[in-house]
Symmetry: C2
Subunit: 241 residues, 2 copies
């Protein structure tokens, strides 16, 4: 059986198989070695994610020999938790301390269910507040952005802190994206979601972190002969048992 990588998160995960999306790019990169499994839930915060984890990751049936454990899982929440409590998307807001607590719960759940799986956290991306005003998701009578870059940064730092406590890797997307001066236009399509270039950053950073964990094309098993390994003068030889 081919190993799996699960992608768990909110809309930035759910939409990761759009044209040039980071999930599709992972599936393409690992096309002969790994199955990429999409578990993105648009609009979800960590409070709701905790409620549904048992349904997102059902207990393995059968042997319990670890055969169902994925190779890795990305956990990418925080963009919705960081909605401000006094703005138009307040129903998605989760206080910072609860966000940390929920992230810890998610990591514990995954570690218990999948003891050998590499867990990789991803921080929320930075926010372009002007673009958030131009692309409202709900009615916004106050005309103030429902997310700010400063708040997203607080949740990003909290995510990094939880990764540190849990001893697991983290992609600091909030910082990484802002290292490029034109990040607002280059990486964000509506001040929150990702352009193709933004998706590219996530893909590259996830591939890098997975490699640090020993998960890469160099170490993964290709389960059937590559065309380059098939002798044109005796092709069937490659398929002998």
């Amino acid at each position: 059986m081919r190993p799996k990588i699960y992608l768990i998160g909110d809309s930035i995960t759910e939409e990761s198989f759009c044209d040039g999306g980071w999930g599709a790019s992972l599936a393409h990169h690992f096309s002969r070695t790994v199955d990429v499994v999409l578990r993105g839930y648009s609009g979800y915060n960590t409070r709701w994610a905790v409620k549904v984890l048992e349904r997102v990751i059902p207990a393995a049936k059968g042997s319990g020999d670890g055969a169902d454990e994925p190779l890795a899982v990305t956990v990418f929440f925080g963009a919705n938790d960081a909605c401000l409590p006094d703005r138009c998307s307040a129903f998605q807001h989760v206080p910072l301390d609860e966000y940390k607590h929920n992230l810890r719960s998610i990591v514990s759940f995954l570690k218990k269910r999948w003891p050998t799986t590499h867990i990789l956290l991803i921080t929320p991306p930075p926010i372009d507040e002007d673009a958030r005003l131009r692309h409202p998701y709900v009615e916004n009578p106050l005309n103030q952005p429902e997310r700010t870059n400063e708040a997203a940064g607080d949740y990003a730092k909290a995510c990094i802190a939880v990764a540190g406590e849990c001893g697991i890797p983290v992609v600091d997307l909030w910082t990484k994206m802002q290292q490029f001066s034109d990040w607002k236009k280059a990486y964000l399509s509506d001040g929150l979601h990702l352009t193709q270039m933004g998706n590219r950053i996530v893909f590259e950073e996830v591939v890098k972190k997975l490699k640090d964990e020993g998960v890469s094309l160099e170490t993964l098993h290709v389960d059937l002969p590559l065309i380059s390994e098939i002798n044109p003068n005796d092709p069937l030889k490659a398929f002998e048992p």
Copy 2:
């Protein structure tokens, strides 16, 4: 457990998660309902596919209650079988009668292993012979195209015949693409593989055929509440058991 759609085929399947690829588009389209599983093997013909089927589709472990059966599977071979026997990619050539025999074997195997799964055949695409000369995959001392559009058409017709015999649906990509006068440039990147627009055709045709079989967003189960179903005044209500 979320249902699966398997994509089995050659490089046009293996590369289907590239930017705008038809596999990625399927995964995006079904992002909350279906897992799309990639089983593309670049360069493979039906002769080699028959040899490896047992390894591509391992027998289900455990209960045998059909829980592991995918909802649907696409079978997309023929582009390599149709290489001419006296040209530079002759080692991939499979005679037309053997191609039909092999396709029938693949369908029988799948029907036996997965009795309830919808099987969908896809014919090879048309060939732009001039472009094949400009983009050789191997040394081509004769300077003649290793594939012709006429031969690809013969394999496409054979594929359609097998689908008819087996009583299963088929996407006639060879004909569909040539209905557009600029098909060579619009749909093919190197005379064989697909551009983003070519990928779009495959995606749309597969979605249409799946819908004919009763597999569509209208009939599939979304396994967790959509954000539109969550009451902003009482979000947790949506997550009660």
